[in-house]
Amino acid sequence: ADKLAAFQARIDADGRIEPQDWMPEAYRRTLIRQISQHAHSEVVGMLPEGNWITRAPSLKRKAILLAKVQDEGGHGLYLYSAAETLGVSRAELIEQLLSGRAKYSSIFNYPTLTWADVGVIGWLVDGAAIMNQIPLCRCSYGPYARAMIRICKEESFHQRQGYELLLTMMRGTEEQRRMVQDAVNRWWWKCLAMFGPPDSASVHSEQSMRWGIKRISNDELRQKFVDATVPQAEVLGVTLPDPKLKWNPERGHYDFGEIDWDEFWRTVNGHGPCNKERLGTRIKAHRDGAWVREAALAHARKRQARAARAAA
């Protein structure tokens, strides 16, 4: 009980919990769940954008996109490492993903249908992710907070690149503009849903707030995102697909329409357009790569044995 009080006091004083510190089992479990889910999202998130690397319409964009997807893989690595500091192995976490027990961000269960999707994912999906992630830079768990600082910096860069890609397309041909608008139409509502269920319906939030894992509510973050994005859409010259979207001078915020939560939950629960393809691809990649991992292990053992013999 002493330890628990000290733990909570450190959090309340905005201090950081480090791996060697005592922590409640539920805190550890919550963090493992959240960090690994985040790591899985980075890795699965490589697939929708990876879909356009081989077809990028210019070499410059190909390099930018490839670098971006590579960064996402890198984020996955930091986050798996952060989760490992909590006493779980990467292999276990991957097993949870592939068996369907662990989740990843449901936004990656939608298809990338044209090159414009690459830009819109940068602008809106990464934009929403950053909005969600900035508060995590102050998360009470040190390794997670530090990973998030690095990740947020890179994500902001990706977001600017995505927006710039779209600006270029909007200055282009009619067909390019059509592609951008079409992509915005398909992604906008999915991005709003990325902030999670309305506060009124959110389950884990309260405890997470107390533990300094979550700092701002879903609805607040969503509102911030809408407020930040509407002016950007105007500059870009695209229409956000929501007839109810309107500045509310009384609230000092944009009002917006109702998210289709049924659709959101269907997708979260496995019935989105790409859930099976995303997971099927990861499973197959993991299975196809087994011989490589086994060989690397076998080789390392052989070397070790040789070194031991040489030393003896």
Partner: protein, 267 residues
């Protein structure tokens, strides 16, 4: 054609050859993005693809400068057809054992690594020698690319050894990969007209002269990897002169599809 024009043509062909090698291999290696055997290797391969795309861009930019007019780096990547590409056939093959172009199947990581090894074992001495090219922009690109190629070679060598001297399965797969790929390396040593001319003009390197160094590298690594050095006997490919395998047109159809659907668009 006057002498200057001819010299430019030779240089253009030579730079395109080097650029196409880099781009086509990058395109093949990109296909592993997100589906590699372990996350670190996804990153490593993406990183190398980035290096290769960077090399291709510099080389194409130099060609665009030499040719003048409206050409940009993208003109060469997106608006040429298969017979105009000058890459080694080795680099356009799918990452699998021999199979016709339309019967695509699962990719084999052993083939990918074996190819990266065979190619970068050539590019290290080649870029090294090209630092002395009389065409200074090429010498500068070579200096930059040499550092990258050294890393690519180290990475690939380590994996060749790891997989060759790993499990029985990995050993068999690597041996099959090298048996499949080795004959394609003959293209390195059979000089095309533009390579001969480039050597004569002092802008290019006599690749055949690098054969011993290359063989020494390959033999040493394969020995470490407990692999048999396969014969390179067989058909001598001529991708450099535009005579490719059936695979390149598929690779290009995919790579160029978006760009070609929007002629004249900026991206």
């Amino acid at each position: 054609m006057d002498a200057v024009a001819t010299e430019t043509t030779v240089l253009v062909d030579y730079l395109l050859h080097l650029g196409d090698n880099a781009l086509v291999l990058a395109q093949r290696n990109c296909q592993w993005c997100g589906v590699g055997p372990v996350l670190e290797e996804d990153l490593a391969l993406a990183n190398q693809s980035l290096d290769l795309i960077g090399q291709a861009r510099l080389l194409y930019q130099e060609v665009a400068r030499l040719e003048g007019g409206d050409a940009t780096e993208d003109t060469y990547a997106y608006w040429r057809d298969a017979h105009q590409f000058r890459n080694y056939v080795l680099l356009e093959l799918p990452a699998s054992l021999p199979r016709v172009g339309y019967a695509q199947g699962d990719m084999d990581w052993g083939v990918t690594l074996a190819r990266n090894f065979l190619y970068s074992a050539l590019m290290v001495p080649l870029w090294d020698a090209l630092q002395a090219s009389r065409h200074e922009p090429l010498a500068a690109i070579a200096a930059k690319s040499l550092k990258e190629a050294r890393y690519h070679l180290r990475h690939a060598s380590e994996w060749v050894v790891r997989l060759g001297d790993g499990t029985d399965e990995s050993h068999a797969r690597m041996q099959a990969a090298f048996d499949h790929l080795m004959p394609y390396t003959q293209e390195f040593w059979a000089p095309s007209d533009f390579e001969r001319a480039a050597v004569q003009a002092g802008v290019g390197v006599d690749v055949a002269g690098l054969r011993d160094v290359w063989r020494a590298t390959v033999a040493a690594t394969l020995e470490d990897a407990t692999l048999r050095l396969p014969s390179d006997e067989g058909y001598v490919p001529q991708g450099k002169t535009g005579l490719h395998s059936e695979h390149l047109s598929y690779l290009l159809a995919e790579m160029q599809s978006v760009a070609r659907a929007h002629p004249g668009a900026q991206w």
